[in-house]
Subunit: 355 residues, 2 copies
């Protein structure tokens, strides 16, 4: 029986996934060398499709590594000698902060409670020597979104700091302005509808230069190594070739639809999900301020989380449970563009049946 | 046209790969949560099959991470505060050594020239405070193997050091004695015949305890985190679920054949390949001492590397070129158990046609 996955990642696979896997089988992509022209071409195509989709300028390189979680560690090790600052609106932003602490940095946490976000941003007092400002565009644990205008404010107030943003569960919906944001990163098992095992790290020259000068940047997957290999469409170590090929295919397919149409569809669906949170007695929107409501991860408060999740599962609809200590009080629903119209309709129909 | 890959990794995929991928599609494994009972069961089964195949005792845990290259960094960061020692017989062992240097450790290199190995081992003078002895069971760059008896000698001479071995291109052929070896690691794109994107790290309590006490062990994928998550059949971050499932299937299939039969087949084929190196005018075995001849990666010296590789490619036979500066003088041939009898016969037939 086919299940409809609305978990926030891994999630429903792109409807063409098995078709593209068949292409990967036929081309024997699981066997090719990552130093071959065939691989170079796959990397180049993925790069081109992602640039077009996410409006990534030539100032930024696109690197492939196993996961966005790994980027948390690498970006701190490579660009922070002492001071990082973290705008934390949930459990994943907090983990990013904890990574900086674990690496022995002076990490500054500016936090808001679960379900709240940064509505205003011009009154933050970051340490004057902050080298890297760490933000989460879309907090997967709480469904809180950072308003895009905040990036410009942060860059204006702290022009000497690098500005990075975690877009794990909002890429490619997130319309990031890469003339302001120095680095962003995501994993493919969220809104690109692919199996886990690949992360994408977008970083500009300023990040790479900082890495070149950095001490204690680690041995594996340094920005310097990525930048050097990127010149030849290669990666420092053997990458997940098949997933890079699949990512290229998803980005190409999204480009055919057009990023504006994709964003519109995400917003239209989010609107329906948040309306249900207002209308249904058994559900309430965790995030109530529209400006910070995630468009790709909708979180409900509910006293019946376990029952609703079990009940939906019997109808082959898999919802995400709340994160960590919110397991019994939240339901999380992925609203990713890889989810088909048919699956979304099945979800809405079932949600409508709730009290 | 189907190509026969004898590259040393990525290499030819296991003949059942597409069949198992179909099972993964049907079970929607690309979508399932890595915190679900379904995943826990996949991890548990992979663990059981690998334990049976490689004779891994209960003293050792089995962790999954993206690659063996990453293990080089993690094991040093987690178990070495100051001194590591490296027995280096080629480019990959040297990289392991360089990782330790990059992490700021006092790394001791004991090296032999390309194509030579450690025939004797009891005269080495490792630093008395060595915390981790780093060995390469099978040097993928040169086709040199470390005799298994050396592990016991090393452990006897340096009982206070942890002993680890890189079995990237020899697992599961390598008959490692885990009562002596504290840690070993490999990637699945070699002798398990799977696409790249998954590494396996086998480590005992002594390694984990060292990690618990270690400072500066990094933020991501520490041994401590792996050990904690392992208790629940989980990983610290979202793993490559599909590849773990596939690895479990390969290990199960290898167990059905039996590890002794697999080792015998590998040795029988290696014998044929080394005999050709003796008989053919255009080829010569790079490694001539039987005790250190790799059974899974056979390397030929030749003045015609480029021509032979091109010529074989026209017959859909993909050979590995020499590593790094040996690109034009060496040919490397994978002799992995995932390579079918049919492919091996095609290779031998073609090699026999050489002068």
């Amino acid at each position: 029986m086919i299940q409809h996955f609305f978990t926030v990642g891994p999630s429903q696979l792109h409807p063409n996934y098995t078709h593209w896997m068949q292409q990967a089988f036929d081309a024997q992509l699981g066997s090719i060398s990552h130093r071959s022209a065939t691989f170079n071409n796959i990397y180049k195509q993925a790069d081109e499709h992602l640039r077009a989709l996410m409006n990534i300028p030539a100032s930024h390189s696109i690197f492939f590594l196993p996961s966005a979680t790994e980027v948390w560690e690498r970006i701190i090790a490579n660009t922070v000698s002492r001071h990082s600052a973290h705008l934390v609106s949930g459990a994943f932003g907090k983990k990013f902060y904890e990574f900086s602490q674990a690496l022995g940095k002076q990490a500054q946490l500016i936090g808001v409670p679960h379900g709240q976000g940064f509505e205003q941003i011009n009154t933050l007092s970051l340490h004057p020597d902050t080298e890297l400002i760490c933000t989460t565009h879309n907090e997967t644990a709480s469904g809180v979104q950072l308003p895009l205008a905040h990036y410009a404010t942060l860059k204006q107030q702290y022009p000497n700091a690098l500005l990075c943003t975690d877009i794990v569960s909002s890429a490619p919906y997130a319309n990031i302005d890469f003339t302001i944001v120095d680095s962003a990163f995501f994993s493919v098992q969220k809104a690109f509808g692919l199996p886990a095992g690949l992360g994408v790290w977008i970083a500009n020259e300023a990040c790479i230069n900082k890495s070149t000068q950095a001490a204690n940047k680690g041995a594996h997957h340094t920005l310097e190594q990525f930048a050097k290999n990127y010149k030849n469409w290669e990666t420092p170590s053997t990458p997940n070739v098949v997933n890079i090929f699949l990512l290229s295919k998803v980005a190409e397919a999204y480009n055919k639809i057009g990023i504006n149409a994709i964003r519109q569809q995400v917003e239209d669906r989010a609107k329906i999900l948040y309306q249900l949170g207002e209308q249904k007695q058994s559900l309430a929107n965790l995030v109530t301020t529209p400006a910070i409501q995630s468009q790709t991860v909708v979180v409900y408060n509910t006293t019946q989380a376990g029952d609703i999740i079990s009940n939906f599962k019997q109808s082959q609809i898999i919802l995400g449970s709340g994160y960590g200590s919110f397991k019994h009080n939240n339901i999380r629903i992925a609203n990713f563009p890889s989810i088909t119209e048919q699956s979304f309709d099945i979800l809405i129909n079932k949600l409508n049946q709730l009290a």
